[in-house]
Subunit: 212 residues, 2 copies
């Protein structure tokens, strides 16, 4: 037996692929993207440095798998936060925004990887698939906040404003120019402001259509 989370029985690992991704994310959290290496991940997982190449063709593929897993974890965290919030759509979306901010603060290096690393070719696709799941989750939460007749494109705009505001806020908190206080308060204000922003914009568009 080895660690409780990796029940290695004898020669084989059990589920090395998943173990490598898990340890890769842990390594990222400790050393940042700069300190990431296949050899270190293998050592953390308790296998030889050649073992990862049975599961990932090269370093970049492992990195992309970690990035995809991180996005999936974000998606899960947000979905759970929405679930735990009450039935009010605005409250649910605000809780989601707060959870996003907290996730960024607690998993800085992983988020850096997702946003800053430029994946190429097939690896980019791997990452984008998970991004789509995240977007879908946010779209569902957002459409509940807006009137029923709002188009999908306008809902996407709304998601965009909420996400960019929240992400920018979290990024600045990381820079450390001020302490992270009242995260949920900011999240709530951001959602309401974005909704007003979008609905006001739509109203103006509507006015232009009917009375030019």
């Amino acid at each position: 037996m080895s660690s409780p989370t990796t029940p290695r029985r004898g020669y084989h690992h059990g589920d090395l692929r998943a173990g490598l991704i898990r340890e890769g994310i842990a390594l990222l959290a400790e050393t940042g993207v700069a300190g990431f290496s296949v050899a270190k991940v293998a050592a953390r997982a308790g296998v030889s440095s050649a073992a990862p190449y049975r599961h990932f063709p090269d370093r970049e593929a492992l990195l992309a798998a970690c990035a995809a897993a991180i996005i999936a974890a974000i998606t899960d965290a947000l979905a759970e936060a929405a679930e735990q919030a009450g039935p009010d759509p605005v409250g649910r979306l605000a809780a989601t925004a707060g959870a996003y901010t907290r996730y960024v603060l607690e998993h800085r290096a992983g988020v850096d990887l997702v946003y800053a690393h430029d994946f190429a070719g097939p690896h980019r696709q791997t990452v984008q698939e998970q991004s789509r799941r995240l977007t879908d989750t946010l779209m569902a939460l957002a459409s509940a906040v807006l009137p029923d007749d709002v188009s999908s494109a306008d809902t996407a705009d709304f998601v965009y404003v909420c996400l960019s505001t929240t992400h920018g806020y979290a990024t600045l908190l990381l820079r450390g120019t001020r302490p992270p206080q009242d995260i949920d308060g900011h999240a709530a204000r951001a959602v309401v402001a974005a909704r007003d922003h979008i609905t006001g914009h739509l109203l103006r568009l509507h006015d232009q259509d009917t009375s030019p």
Copy 2:
């Protein structure tokens, strides 16, 4: 003679320190932080790979100097955008926000370095000094937009909202989920929304103070 920008006269370079920072930034733009190396920067500057160590104690110091130079360049770009905008304070701040977004789009890798890399010890301080200059510039532009009796702390809040919104927007544009269109329009709306957000917030605070 060597390149026009580096008039190397004979054995000595002229101003290698500045040349290394310039080539370092150029290398970052081409390869990202992952591809950055002292040896490559030296080669680009046309000197041996040991030469940089006369000016920077180690790789991290050169990287920090590049980051500081990038922040200084951002500050200059924003100040110039404000200068070229008209006298209207809101228009000036909106032009600044638009310039910020464009800078991020055109200098992705440099911005990634500034935001994602975690500088330690003295290098962090080097970077933060330039950050302060940027903050000061934004504070001056922002205070012209708000009423005269707004405190410095509230002005800082306003800057914070503007910057986080703009930065988040630029970051999402980099992710490429949508094409960058109407950057200045978004910048203008973001500034106005942030001002309304802050002034409304201040009004509410004022109401609470006078009529509890």
